[in-house]
Point group: C2
Chain length 168, copies 2
DNA sequence: TCGTGTTTTCAAAAAGTTTTGAAAATTCAA
DNA sequence: TTGAATTTTCAAAACTTTTTGAAAACACGA
């Protein structure tokens, strides 16, 4: 397989994966492109490679920067901005985990805690079923929160550097 | 807080969570409703509770059944079908993990394996960067696959029943 | 300050997804 | 069979999200 073909396929696969994950397709494609490019790209280069408009490029690059997955790079002697993606896939993973935890898990945990105290008799089977469900989901959410938190922290810890060598 | 209010809030929160996860909002809401109801519901009851059309109900219930999150229940003496959701949140989680692995991780791993062998010189920095990226992502994907597989299996194993008692 | 190259914004258009509801199909008791 | 209750289908409508591109804003050297 030729490089150009492989590149196109990788970008499109990463793009549809992103779409299923609530990340928009173009954002994921830009990320894919920057992942496999050795040097930083300018907005124009991204536009050309992916055939998308300037506005679209700008918007999605900014969002990738917000997620912490892409960085602005200043090339000496160049007026234009260049962009590059974090290449260490473990860092990418922890970065995404951190962001999704903040955007998804944390808010639902807040709601679950409020829903714990519904008025009403335990004798009422509807009240009982509701409370039981919320209670169980809440326990599960706390466990998940702990697991994700330690995954996120593992990146920085001593434990990480020793253990991860096995996989890297 | 009153039960009705808490119920509505839970359904709507679970619904928007689902939307972020690539699951459609209504499907997640039906799931939420069935999760907190002690007894199975009929299609009509779901329609009334959530204010959605018959077609919509039918389609999304079927999809939930495909995911293995909801079951058809036959009530003796009733012509209509009733539906109920798995209440054990650990089972729900492994079920979702299994399905998402099948739909998302497995296909991308297939593509990554194909992309491993791109033609071209290692001296070409674009070829090198591409190969390195794919190689690293592939290693990560294999690791993730193992982790998810053992999570899915944990449900059935001896280890599960002993360890999970701590959290339940 | 001006002019040029560059980035950002945002309203409107395009594309994509979900929902509706009525008609068709199915099921089953009589 | 027949017909009433129920479920399923699917084209069109409603809604949501994404993309475009031109205009505005910005940055900076001369």
């Amino acid at each position: 397989m030729k490089l150009a073909e492989a590149k196109a396929q990788f970008i499109q696969t990463w793009g549809s994966l992103g779409a299923q994950w609530g990340i928009n397709r173009t954002m994921a494609q830009i990320h894919a492109l920057l992942l496999i490019m050795p040097d930083p790209l300018s907005a124009d280069e991204i536009m050309q490679e992916l055939n998308i408009s300037r506005g679209n490029t700008n918007m999605n690059v900014r969002e990738l920067i917000n997620w912490g997955l892409v960085e602005r790079v200043l090339v000496p002697g160049e007026r234009r901005e260049f962009f590059t993606a974090e290449k260490d896939i473990w860092k990418v993973a922890t970065c995404i985990a951190k962001e999704r935890k903040k955007r998804e898990l944390d808010p639902i945990m807040k709601v679950l805690n409020q829903l714990q105290d519904v008025e009403g008799e335990q004798k009422d089977k509807y009240v009982k079923a509701f409370k039981d469900s919320i209670h169980n989901i809440n326990k599960f959410a706390h466990q998940t929160d702990k697991t994700i938190s330690s995954f996120i922290k593992s990146e920085e810890s001593w434990f990480y550097s020793t253990l991860m060598k096995i996989f890297k």
